[in-house]
Amino acid sequence: MRWCALLPVLCALLASNPLLAQTLRFAPLPMQDPETVVREVKPMLEYLEERLGVTFTIDYNTSYSEILHNFAAGELDLAYLGPLPYVELRDQFPAVSPLVVFREPDGEAKYTCSVVMFADDRQPLRELAGQALALTQPLSTCGYLATESLLRHAGVSLEQARYRYLGRHDEVALAVVRGEFRAGGLKTTIARHYTHLGLVQISETEPLPAFALVANTTTVPPELRTRLTEALVAVQPRDNPEDARLVRAWGESLRHGAQAVEDADYEPVRRLRRGVQIPVPVPRPRQGGG
């Protein structure tokens, strides 16, 4: 029938019509200061806005638990999450679905976590018992989970040390440099940003699935999810000079391309989590200067 033939055209029109443009609520990773988040995430979002005809609002959250809560409440559509938060979110809210994982600078869609120290304060991990130790967040992959795993390998446990959650990875790094903590656990790539301040890596985990863009399947329709995935996977900065120019303003963790991901890819994380009970700390007021 004739109107059936017109259906794709109508759909295309509806999809590209700015008046019908959908506003997507995006939660960046709470592990960086807001300025950095804006600076790094905003260009990518603008790319997607232009490409897909949608608009974004950034819902800046200070903790993973807050993101998970908002996601479950249907107040968020998309989030940039590390593997552990995703797994945790998935356990609580099965409607979450990973779209893409962002590649690391080495091109791999995986990353590692490290335990770092200031060069002046360097000491073996096993000696950390009783020492102050900085962690990011309970649900951060490189937080309790990875750090505990690495300490266990050295023969100690976090429970033996005086650990504190500082929230953000960079905060962990700088707090260690400032000498406020003897060691800290954080994402390796972030730790490397502070090498010029004398921060050194003591131990590193096996590669884990990289940070992902996850979608709330209850609020984001499958077609849009597909298009989001396609738009991000299509950016190939390594192979395409034009894409390389495009991503120059994107954040460090986003600019190396992305690949499609499935929930099954998170099995290593689930394995890492097994046997580790992440204690939930008593919430405390947010630190200034974050």
């Binding site: 200061d33 807001p34 300025e35 950095t36 804006v38 600076r39 790094e40 995430v41 905003k42 260009p43 603008e46 950034i58 800046y60 200031f118 060069a119 002046d120 960079d170 700088l174 440099v177 400032r178 000498g179 940003h193 502070y194 090498t195 010029h196 301040l197 004398g198 921060l199 303003a249 200034g288 200067g289």
Partner: protein
């Protein structure tokens, strides 16, 4: 002077405009000063805020940064050879100064940033992960500090947020290690300013260019375009970043939207100037102060905006409006007042003009005097009456100037009756005489009144009018009255009903009735009874319709005597046409009438016979002619003259003659029928007019009775006298129009004929003969005029010898160039000339003209004899030979025999002896004669022998018929032979064909003239003809 209201209105509007302009200027000046203060206040607040942070940063720098161990660490961090060492030193520096940085942050400082000596970022306490970027390229302030190694501060945009930066060089000993920077985000400056003045709201807008050059792409989305200027941006109004300035309030945004529509805002910002603008917000006035903020390079990088309610501006505006309104009201009030004054002046002026117009328009003269009698005012009529120019007489004493009391004799001013009266406060009225400026005296009627002003006698006002006309009218009336009284004609005046009102003395003298006797009576008192009722009816009818009757009336005097009066009665009506009076004017013409009748009789009748005289006869004849025309009858006019009556008078005396005439007149009167007239014309001449004749014979019978009546003897006393009469008769009507005089003349002429024929008879006038005679007279008159006007010309016909071809001469032929009928041959007019003196005159003219023409030709080399025809009358004049001689003497150059005279046979025979003598004497003068038309007259051989003509001209009829008529030919032959016998030359006239020429040659007649040779031609054509003839002759002979 009349002030134009439009001028006042214009002045008002101008003043109003100036006042409003002044008020406005004052308001704007105050506002500008107010804004200037606001601008200065904002500038001061901004500087105070910035300086306070500057002091703090200076303190921090001195206390915490500019310490030896810090400098050492900084130097080591830059200069250590090992990367790890350098990193360690940087980390240690970070660790060492962290507490200080935290304190700084508490004080509002955002960044503590070490710059290496090479100008690269060494350590950022805020975002320490970023380092190593080249600051000299992007931060002018760093460049400047590194160049001068002196502390410096300034506003600048940054990678994320803009703010004020304080830079200090770091020097250890002489070694320049780099610099350290402390920066405050605008948010803190904003707060500091807010603390200084809580009533203001401060905002910062950044120059787009300065932002876009420094901010990473991701950050640009945080900026919002300023509504004030598209080149300016607002920082992070969504408060995405922690140190972002406080975003604009709704009020500030609303005001901003208002200012966005004002182009001057953008213009001010383009010029980078400080300015204050006002805006209305919910009924309140707000001010917006724009303070430009320069970057270290001196370029405007941002604007600090201060929003605050501005009650003072509102007060100033209110003051302006109030003052303007008050001034306008005041001016309006002045305008109204002025208009009222003007209206009042206008009304006063109009009133004066009205009064002036009244005095100007007055028909009377008006003047005013002061108490001394000096003129203070004269209206135009007064000036005109007195003949003065405006202003001329003012100030003069009226009495001295134009009062002429007492018949122009001098009166001292103290005796001026007018002045005397009015100075006493009394009015004066009367007639006076005024003297005009040109000296003429005019009678005036005047009224003078004392003039009081505010109760005081200040002079007098006098009204006067020229009464010359009235005076003249009175004089005319007086004259009329005297005319009425002393007129020679009787005058009576009645009322409309015809009752006598007044009669004059002449009336009394003519009729014998006095005024008292006739007053109230009808004029029929005088009626004589000689006129019937119809007469009076007509008289009254004409009076009614035409208002006038004139005629003669027989009336009766008081003494019963009849008299004839010539009366003129006129109806006198008023302007509306109502009948007022009848005026009768009459003269006694009784005697005049009798005298006139006597004269009339003498004028029309013969005193002796009492028969109508010639005058009356002609009158009667005229009437008879009219009657005849109407009745289609004849009138017969008899002119009677007694034959030999003169002898009776001479023999028996005039008395007997008169008695005889009386008796004969009586007899004539007896023959007279009704309507006929018998008249004595003079002496023994009578005329009788018979009217209503049916035939001419009827008249002849009556004529016969007249002859008989007059031939009968008359007894006078003892004498029995006898006479006869000759009677001329003529009739009316005739073939042409005639009048009475002509008829009488015709009858007279016929009577003369009767006398000639033998008397005692009648003769009837020959009307046809008379007409012919008159025609001949007219024709002669025309010919005389033609001669006088030079209408006669001569044509010339050549005479040729056929045998030799020689042109022997030409005959001059008379032609009349008639102005209407063209060229006429003599046959058309010669008959009228025949026997008339004009014939001789014309003949003389022909001879003279022919001679003159021969002289003309001769001078041109043409010698030709010319013959002219001479009529018998001319030839027979006794002095003919002298005339010819005289003419020839005028042209002595002409050869002999040039002139030839042609005469008719008949003319020669009338007086043969004289003619023969003339011919001979002419021959002696060299003038030959030819006998024209030979053969048609008597042509008696004996005559031919006696008439000594040299040439015979054979008449054209012989030549014409000779070829057809043998008898003519025979006659011609005989003539030729005869000529030979008598030795006369021959010329044949009328040769028209070559055959005729040949036969004439054969006959022996060589010389011919006629159409066969040439037609008569004008004199000027003859030389050409001669030329052609000679050429032809040469050709023929050749």
């Amino acid at each position: 002077m009349k002030i134009d209201r439009r001028l006042v209105l214009f002045a008002f509007l101008l003043t109003e405009a100036l006042v409003v302009l002044f008020m406005y200027g004052d308001w704007r000046d105050k506002l500008a000063m107010h804004y200037e203060r606001q601008g200065i206040a904002l500038d001061t607040a901004y500087r105070a805020a910035v300086n306070s942070f500057g002091l703090a940063s200076q303190a921090y720098f001195s206390e915490a940064v500019a310490r030896p161990e810090i400098l050492r660490l900084f130097r080591h961090g830059q200069q250590a050879e090992d990367e790890r060492e350098r990193a360690l030193a940087r980390g240690r520096l970070y660790r060492r100064l962290w507490p200080t940085y935290e304190r700084l942050r508490d004080g509002g400082l955002r960044q503590l940033h070490f710059h290496s000596a090479r100008g690269e970022s060494y350590l950022r306490f805020f975002s320490p992960e970023y380092y190593g970027d080249d600051l000299l390229a992007t931060q002018p302030l760093v460049r400047h500090v590194h160049a001068t190694r002196k502390a410096m501060s300034g506003f600048d945009t940054g990678r994320s947020l803009s703010g004020f930066r304080y830079l200090y060089p770091l020097v250890e000993g002489d070694e320049f290690l780099g610099s350290v920077e402390m920066s405050i985000p605008f948010r803190h400056i904003q707060k500091a300013m807010q603390r200084l003045d809580e009533s203001q709201e401060y905002q910062l807008i950044l120059r787009r260019e300065a932002v876009e050059n420094k901010v990473p792409p991701g950050f640009l989305a945080l900026y919002e375009s300023s509504c004030l200027h598209p080149d300016y941006l607002l920082e992070d109004t969504g408060l995405q970043l922690p140190d972002s300035p406080i975003p604009p309030s709704d009020q500030a945004r609303t005001i901003g939207d208002q200012l966005a529509n004002r182009p001057e805002v953008r213009a001010i910002m383009d010029r980078g100037e400080r300015q204050v603008f006002s805006a209305d917000l919910a009924g309140a006035t707000w001010s917006v102060t724009l303070l430009p903020i320069a970057d270290p390079a001196g370029e405007v990088a941002a604007y600090v905006l201060a929003y605050a309610p501005d009650p003072l501006a509102q007060v100033l505006q209110r003051d302006f409006v109030t003052a303007t309104l008050a001034a306008s009201l005041l001016l309006g009030a002045i305008l109204v007042l002025l208009c009222r004054v003007l209206s009042s002046r206008e009304a006063l002026r109009a009133e004066r003009a009205y009064q002036q117009a009244i005095t100007d328009t007055m028909g009377e003269g008006l003047y005013a005097q002061d108490r001394e009698g000096r003129l203070t005012f004269i209206n135009p009529t007064g000036r005109q009456l007195l003949g003065y120019e405006p202003q001329e007489a003012l100030g003069e004493c009226a009495h001295a100037l134009f009062h002429r009391h007492a018949a122009n004799e001098y009166t001292p001013p103290s005796d001026c009756p007018i002045q005397h009266r009015v100075n006493a406060g009394q009015a004066y009225e009367g007639e006076e005489v005024f003297k005009r400026n040109d000296g003429h005296l005019i009678p005036v009627e005047l009224a003078s009144r004392p003039l009081y002003q505010e109760g005081l006698l200040v002079g007098s006002v006098t009204l006067f009018r020229d009464i010359s006309e009235r005076k003249r009218a009175e004089e005319r009336l007086q004259l009329a009255a005297s005319v009425f009284t002393s007129a020679h004609e009787g005058i009576m005046i009645t009322d409309p009903e015809g009752h006598l009102l007044m009669v004059n003395e002449a009336f009394t003298r003519i009729t014998g009735y006095s005024q008292d006797e006739v007053a109230g009576h009808n004029p029929n008192l005088l009626s004589s009874g000689r006129h019937d009722r119809a007469f009076y009816r007509l008289l009254w009818e004409q009076l009614r319709t035409e208002g006038y009757w004139r005629g003669e009336l027989w009336n009766r005097r008081k003494n019963g005597e009849l008299y004839l009066q010539l009366s003129t009665i006129s109806a006198v009506r008023d302007e509306a046409g109502n009948l007022l009076h009848f005026v009768g004017l009459f003269a006694d013409i009784t005697e005049m009438k009798e005298h006139q009748e006597k004269l009339d009789f003498l004028a029309h009748y013969d005193a002796l016979t009492e028969l109508p005289n010639r005058v009356l006869l002609l009158d009667r004849l005229n009437q008879a002619m009219k009657l005849a025309d109407r009745e289609q009858r004849w009138v017969g006019v008899l002119y009677v003259d007694l034959d030999e009556f003169k002898g009776i008078n001479e023999t028996y005396g005039r008395e007997v003659g008169d008695q005889m005439l009386l008796a004969l007149a009586k007899r004539l009167a007896e023959i007279r029928r009704a309507g006929d007239t018998v008249s004595r014309l003079s002496g023994d001449e009578f005329a009788v007019v018979f009217v209503s004749l049916k035939t001419e014979s009827e008249c002849l019978q009556l004529a016969q009775r007249v002859l008989q009546a007059l031939s009968r003897p008359v007894r006078i006393g003892n004498l029995l006298l006898e006479t006869t009469a000759s009677v001329g008769i003529t009739y009316y009507p005739q073939g042409e129009e005639v009048d009475a005089d002509q008829l009488l003349r015709q009858a007279d002429q016929a009577m003369y004929q009767a006398k000639l024929v033998g008397k005692s008879r009648y003769h009837v006038f020959d009307a046809a003969g008379d007409r012919q005679l008159r025609d001949q007279h007219e024709s002669l008159g025309r010919l005389e005029r033609a001669l006088a006007r030079g209408e006669f010309v001569l044509y010339y016909q050549p005479k040729v010898n056929l045998r030799t071809g020689e042109v022997v001469g030409a005959e001059a032929l008379l032609r009349w160039q008639h102005p209407e009928r063209g060229v006429l041959a003599p046959g058309a007019f010669l008959d009228d000339l025949l026997g008339q003196p004009l014939e001789v005159e014309l003949s003389r003219w022909v001879m003279s003209q022919a001679l003159a023409q021969m002289e003309t030709w001769r001078r041109k080399g043409v010698e030709l004899a010319v013959s002219v025809n001479v009529p018998a009358q001319h030839l027979q004049q006794l002095d003919f030979i002298h005339q010819v001689q005289g003419l020839l003497q005028r042209y002595p150059e002409l050869p002999r025999n040039s002139l030839e005279l042609e005469i008719l046979e008949s003319s020669a025979l009338d007086n043969l002896a004289h003619v023969t003598d003339v011919i001979k004497r002419c021959a002696a003068l060299g003038v030959d004669f030819s006998l024209d038309d030979f053969g048609t007259g008597y042509s008696s051989l004996s005559y031919l022998k006696r008439i000594p003509v040299r040439i015979l001209k054979i008449d054209r009829t012989f030549v014409r018929d000779m070829l057809e008529d043998p008898s003519d030919l025979a006659l011609l032959e005989a003539i030729v032979q005869l000529a030979h016998v008598f030795q006369r030359q021959l010329i044949a006239e009328g040769m028209e064909t070559p055959a005729q020429g040949e036969r004439l040659l054969m006959l022996g007649c060589d010389v011919v003239q006629g159409y066969g040779i040439a037609r008569p031609m004008p004199a000027e054509a003859l030389p050409t003809w001669l030329e052609q003839w000679r050429e032809r002759r040469v050709v023929n002979s050749g």
